[in-house]
């Protein structure tokens, strides 16, 4: 026993040991480790450089407007006065709306795929749901302009206005382009993220829990409700937050359908503007350093918020015991 204990470091030599003993210092190993470490360091360097570039780029705007930047509604490149509130509102409102659509549907998909569907159906349907994530954002945008928005304008919005029109949410001119279209497009794009991460989380729930509930006479849904969901709760919240992070940063599709007008309105029919959209529309045409700087500050805000959300989401998903490869898809 003690012999095998002694030779184990030699069977699987780790390079730390290698470098300590004479012969084993192989120049190839040494160079290989240094080279890969250098390229791995590139990852940290890129992230730090990104933070530095964003902070540097937005320094002028940070100095000029301070905290007022996030609470001012005025965005006026002509007078060189910038406030990001309408964009922050548009981003948050459209993302929350997207979650309202996407979370129930994604949970349904995840429960169906991991608990209810017959085995032969799981992989094909799971593949189709993941294909939703493969469609490029700009193609969704194109579809949004010519298919979704006209359908909303001619069918959905008149219907909502005539049935629920007493709510301020469903009043105003029906254009098709606006908050509702933006929310739906975002929901479509984050559904595969939320459902595939949720599916992984549900898979990680020990089957003994399920079997125990079923053995006590629970119906399949009751087994999911009393045994699976409570165990998976933090992971499912994590999946939702990952979806939210994606929705906040999504650019092209929402730029093409949300109407791009910097107004704050409660109506879902009204056009709005998001942080990512204003950067996409104005960055390459921005003249003047303060203008560019203000756009960079919006980018910085977006960056900070999405990074924080991602960290929180990953911690929650880890707690259930799975780390989906490339959880973001």
């Amino acid at each position: 026993m003690s012999v095998s204990h002694d030779i184990s470091p030699l069977i699987r030599p780790r390079s730390k040991i290698l470098t300590r003993f004479g012969r084993e210092v192989n120049w190839g190993d040494f160079a290989f480790r240094r080279l890969t470490a250098l390229l791995a360091a590139l990852m940290i360097a890129a992230l730090l450089a990104m933070i530095a570039a964003m902070v540097h780029g937005s320094a002028e705007s940070l100095r000029t407007f301070g905290l007022g930047f996030v609470s001012s509604e005025i965005w006026n490149p002509v007078r060189d006065v910038y406030g990001a509130l309408p964009f922050i509102y548009g981003t948050i409102a459209s993302s929350v709306l997207a979650l309202c659509f996407a979370v129930p549907i994604s949970l349904g998909v995840a429960i169906f795929l991991s608990e209810l569907a017959p085995a032969w159906l799981r992989d094909p349907v799971g593949f189709l749901v993941e294909l939703l994530a493969a469609v490029p954002s700009v193609v969704y945008g194109l579809w949004g302009i010519f298919v979704l928005a006209p359908w909303l304008r001619d069918t959905v919005e008149p219907f909502l206005a005539s049935t629920l029109g007493f709510l301020p949410l469903f009043q105003g001119q029906q254009r098709g382009f606006g908050m509702l279209a933006g929310g739906i497009i975002l929901a479509i794009m984050i559904t595969p993220t939320i459902s595939s991460v949720s599916r992984e989380v549900l898979r990680a729930v020990p089957s003994a829990l399920r079997e125990g509930a079923l053995g006590l006479g629970a119906t399949p849904w009751e087994a999911v409700r009393v045994a699976v969901l409570p165990y998976a709760r933090s992971g499912l919240i994590g999946a939702t937050i990952l979806g939210l992070g994606r929705a906040l940063g999504e650019t092209m599709a929402i730029t093409m359908v949300i109407g791009n007008r910097s107004e704050i309105s409660v109506s879902l029919f009204a056009p709005s503007y998001t942080m990512a959209s204003v950067i996409a529309n104005e960055f390459s045409e921005a003249t003047g350093s303060l203008y560019l700087s203000a756009l960079a500050e919006i980018g910085l805000l977006l960056f900070v918020v999405t990074v924080l959300l991602n960290i929180v989401a990953r911690l929650l998903v880890w707690r259930v015991g799975t780390v989906p490869v490339g959880g973001r898809l």
Binding site: I11, A37, A53, A276
Partner: protein
């Protein structure tokens, strides 16, 4: 008693049905997008689309040859800048990644994979475009590579960790140095899985538009080399779709069809590649 049991069965059926309906609803957009892109795009697909430059507004005909070339160029650059460092960083994480430094690298990769693509565009604009003082394919390629890097790294790491340790031990037992065992045995065994991950990452960046807006920009003509603003399919779809011209809308649908086929082809072949192999998901 029977009553309550009947109600529980009823609830069970309702919830199951709701899950099936949710799945169907989730698939409607996919079907609708595929249907409309095919129906509206197919008409504009002809030889000219692949061989000619765009015509000015008002003239019919013309193609998107320069955008197809540009997209291939950008994807090529992204692969050159993104894959080798990504794979090597992944090797580092799998082989020596338990150190504190390794944890930081892993953390950075996870953070970077959540960064919105538009902010990557701003980053590369500050890093490359401001120094070169003009938009270029090079800058676009760098932006796409930055987007690919974390995915490639983490996939490589995860798949290397799935390779049985006994393979490495066999190689080391034959006197192979550690680094060659890693490259020739471990990395080779994991190669099909890594290739899948890389292809999925390529498929994702091939359709990215936001990071190209202020890096590669666009160009109505051919671009030579890697130092000029370059047209690309996603950028053309965007510019044409938001334009007021009927003819351009048709072209946008055709471009979308070509882009979608490219992306789906990469996706499906990537998944077929690892069917029933080590590292298949």
């Amino acid at each position: 008693m029977l009553d309550r049991y009947a109600r529980r069965r009823y609830v069970d059926v309702v919830v199951r049905a709701a899950c099936v309906i949710a799945t169907l609803i989730a698939l409607i957009p996919l079907i609708s997008v595929l249907y409309y892109v095919t129906r509206r795009g197919i008409g504009g697909i002809n030889l000219a689309f692949f061989t000619e430059l765009p015509k000015p507004v008002g003239e019919s005909g013309g193609g998107m040859a320069n955008a197809i070339q540009g997209t291939l160029k950008l994807v090529f650059l992204a692969c050159v800048f993104g894959i080798p460092p990504g794979v090597m960083a992944g090797v580092y994480l799998a082989e020596f990644g338990e150190s504190r430094f390794g944890k930081w690298v892993r953390f950075s990769a996870d953070v970077m994979s959540g960064v919105p693509s538009i902010t990557v565009g701003i980053f590369v604009y500050a890093l490359v475009v401001l120094h070169e003082k003009h938009f270029s394919a090079f800058a676009g390629g760098v932006a796409l590579a930055v987007l690919m890097l974390p995915t490639v790294t983490r996939t490589t790491e995860e798949l290397l960790k799935l390779v049985p340790e006994s393979l490495r031990e066999a190689a080391l037992g034959l006197g192979v140095p550690q680094w060659r065992a890693t490259l020739r045995v471990m990395l080779r065994t994991a190669a099909p899985g890594i290739a899948t991950g890389v292809m999925l990452a390529v498929a994702r960046v091939a359709g990215e538009t936001a990071p190209l807006l202020f890096t590669a920009f666009s160009n109505p003509f051919w671009s030579s080399g890697f130092d000029e603003p370059t047209a690309s399919l996603p950028m053309n779809i965007y510019n044409y779709a938001v334009s007021p011209y009927e003819e351009w809308h048709r072209q946008a649908w055709s471009a979308a069809l070509v882009l979608l086929l490219l992306v789906l082809l990469l996706n499906i072949s990537a998944r077929l590649l690892v069917r029933n192999r080590v590292g298949a998901r």
